[in-house]
Symmetry: C2
Subunit: 244 residues, 2 copies
DNA sequence: GCGGAGTTATGACAGGTGTCATAGCGGCCC
DNA sequence: GGGCCGCTATGACACCTGTCATAACTCCGC
């Protein structure tokens, strides 16, 4: 046990490893259609930034000064309800972009971006990005095509959030996370995302206590095990079953 | 009272009035950037269709044969949760398009479309639309720009759905409807959308009974009055207050 | 080492909300 | 007109879930 915790801690440090500037750009799917020239332009005028776990990358309502492409670690996009209650609407991992819609359309971030783990990300100034965007039809296509899945995910979460039962919502969150970021292992699917119960609660639209209760129950049933913030899902099927 | 009910019924009939084919195309904001030539193309190869209240326009999961532009009446886009429970994700009124994302990206409708009132809509075959779409950069821009607000509305609903209290969610739904489709009158803002409590419940992610209870309470407090399915909001402020 | 901060965990409790049952009302079709 | 259907309305009741309180544990800085 001791060494597993040690290994986990190493993992958390590893997340904070500085990625290669160019690699981050190249690995971002939305930008994959760009010419070498445009890549060069973006590369020379963007810069890597670091955020500690919990750090604010931008706040909703602020003017969109830059778009971000995640190099390593995880970022959550949140919105605070009128009651001050914070809700996570999206979780982004390596090579995923954030703030593109704000840049090209509203010029104001509609969501806040917060680091879930220590992470590196690339900051591309909005004017520069717009410059490349304007005369680049393929980029527009790519953005359109990535927006589709985002909308569908949003609609999916809406239906899950409305259909009552917290247990169901937490199961849905874990399954979504598993498909996006889960890594297969002997014991099951491992979620190497350092999410606290609080984070999961924000995604499922519930409270920490209830989330803990639900997950403790699953732990007793052998559906999953948690070791600090690393969750191993042993039985995806029984999670799926709780969805109906 | 008698004649008011009669007037309402007339209204319902009026909604079903057949609109002008070309007007529907011209009034759709997304298409506003098209050349006369493209307009002609769309006009000649699209056709008006009629749907009775409650009728299915398409089902989620079907292949996207056409996109629809609403001419008159209202259409809801829904998704059924794993539990069979139906959730309305969006409500569309005259001159709003549906199915565009499915056409250009997934080729499968992610949501079902159902007529909320009797309505006329324009069917534009997917291949034709894609044809126009491919070589029309401004159209892409317009689509991108309309997608932004859609995403933001979706995120907004997500936060409201997660923040507990049903009363709040119903208030939010009514306010959203009021800003989109409300018409000012002496007595307040009138919602001339023939929504049943069931429809509202689906949008707020709750049950008919609770929706009725909440709205009856407001009716007693004088916040709103309902006459069949026509809702008059007398005090938008007190609805806003319930949001926190 | 000690204390504080952050996270996980558990219990008591009240209230909101879904579920089920029932009823009235108006419209529509035969 | 009669019967059926859809919509609104109301009550009883169980139970989920948010709220508040408490505690153990780890990590970290002093």
């Amino acid at each position: 046990m001791r060494e597993r915790v040690g290994a986990l801690r190493n993992y958390m440090r590893e997340v904070a490893k500085r990625p290669n500037h160019r690699d981050v750009l190249r690995q971002c799917e939305v930008l994959s259609s760009l010419s070498d020239e445009d890549f060069g332009l973006l590369e020379q005028n963007s810069y890597l930034a670091y955020a500690e776990r919990g750090e604010v990358i931008w706040l909703s309502g602020a003017t969109a000064e830059f778009i971000a492409i995640i190099g390593s670690g995880f970022v959550k996009l949140t919105k605070t309800s009128p009651h001050g209650h914070e809700v996570t609407v999206e979780l982004l991992g390596p090579s995923q972009p954030a703030g593109i819609m704000a840049a090209i359309e509203s010029h104001i971030y509609p969501l806040s971006a917060l680091a879930v783990s220590n992470c590196w990300y690339l900051k591309i100034p909005t004017p520069l990005f717009l410059n490349v965007y304007e005369h680049n039809e393929k980029l527009k296509d790519m953005i359109l095509k990535t927006l589709g899945p985002r909308l569908r995910r949003a609609y999916d979460m809406m239906t899950r959030l409305s259909s009552g039962k917290v247990e169901e919502r937490v199961a849905a969150v874990l399954l979504i996370l598993a498909t996006s970021y889960g890594k297969p292992a002997e014991t099951g699917t491992v979620l190497e995302v350092p999410l606290t119960r609080q984070d999961i609660a924000e995604m499922a639209g519930t409270t920490v206590e209830t989330t803990i209760r639900v997950m403790s129950r699953w732990q007793k049933n052998g559906v999953l095990t948690t070791d600090h913030q690393v969750i191993t899902l042993h039985c995806l099927q029984s999670l799926n079953d709780t969805l109906g």
